[in-house]
Symmetry: C2
Subunit: 202 residues, 2 copies
DNA sequence: GAAAGGAGTGAACCATCATTCAGAACTTCC
DNA sequence: GGAAGTTCTGAATGATGGTTCACTCCTTTC
């Protein structure tokens, strides 16, 4: 046996894979899933098309990885905001704000994650992440009901409504290249979201 | 000139086109846009693949027609409910209910119209119809504000939130083949939708 | 330095469909 | 009936884009 991967070599391969994923993410954010061909992604990463298959068994697998990484980051951030100490309604409000701000700061990626047409494997992943978002929102809504700050309601349905409402309100601005009043939009969206779960009007 | 289309012939061609559109709609409702190939649709209509091009210049044109017909019907129904006489909030509530009931009665089609992956031309049409739904909801919300039954709010944003909330709440049940408590779901969804626009709790 | 084997290349391959087209079948009209 | 024109057919065509593979290049080990 005259060959065994040395640690440095393993690190180099990992780095290459990492670089591929991050370049692919950029391409997707720029041109969308449908235009992100294997060769476009490979070009962006500075490797040959065939080399993609050194790291992933198929284009779909790479796409899923890209989605999971990016969506996972966002979900984690929102989870942290929702699990921070403080009033449930306050945390909910902050989470909506953070979600919207991050989406509007990275529109291409946000659009790709939220709404852009994608192959079935990515679509399935999207459903899964929506489920997780719903679980997070639902938890917060239940806490709000427990502390009496939110009226009795079906937390699961409210969470779904929240997810849909936030997404739909953002989709239009995400398409436009430069929206005028981002701050206003975020404020109105937050108010609207709170109204959806029946938070008392201030 | 030894040939001119006779009225009967014109009627036959129109009927064939009609049949093609309706068969294509069924196929799309059954298997989704991505699986609705030209030959699958032609088979369903009992004609050859090539004959599709007698009626439509491209597959995309046929798909757009299918979408427009089906989505147009729904939009019209909702428009009628929202423009019927009565209290704005009452009409809004009824419209949400009708929308949900119709979607749940025709799940495959509803899913295709609302959420299923589709080619860009259909995606564009979907955006257009969402815009029209938003306009309808926004009008009702404005009327509600005018009569003092709804609190002051940005009607456009609320309408977008409503559209998103309703869609997202329905998407899951639309995927499941047989949901248990359709009536309950519709009732909860209606309540949630009204809460989103700040209707007074009853 | 040289053998052994993995990594990288990119042109060729292949599957999938939308689309076309030459001819068959049918309609109209004299 | 037959000429002229139209609709219909379905196999061939063509475009796209993911995947493979024979080959070159590089790294490891002795």
């Amino acid at each position: 046996m005259a060959y065994r991967k040395t640690p440095a070599e393993i690190a180099r391969l990992d780095a290459a894979r990492e670089r591929l994923v991050s370049c692919a993410t950029e391409v997707v954010a720029d041109v969308g899933w449908s235009q992100a061909s294997v060769s476009a992604v490979a070009d962006a990463a500075g490797i040959a098309a065939g080399s993609v298959y050194q790291h992933f068994p198929s284009k779909a697998a790479l796409a899923v990885e890209v989605f999971r990484r990016a969506a996972g980051r966002e979900l984690e951030v929102i989870g942290e905001v929702l699990h921070a100490p403080g009033e449930p309604v306050e945390r909910l409000s902050r989470a909506v704000e953070v979600f919207a701000r991050r989406a509007l700061e990275n529109r291409g990626l946000a659009y790709a994650l939220l709404a852009a047409p994608a192959e079935p494997a990515v679509g399935a992943e999207r459903l899964e992440f929506r489920r997780r978002y719903r679980a997070l929102w639902a938890e917060a809504v239940r806490e709000g009901m427990a502390t009496g700050r939110l009226p009795e309601q079906n937390a699961e349905i409210s969470a779904a409504a929240l997810t849909g409402a936030i997404g739909e309100v953002l989709v239009d601005p995400l398409g436009a290249p430069e929206e005028s009043a981002v701050g206003d939009l975020i404020a109105v969206l937050t108010t609207t979201a709170l109204r959806c779960v029946g938070a008392p009007r201030d």
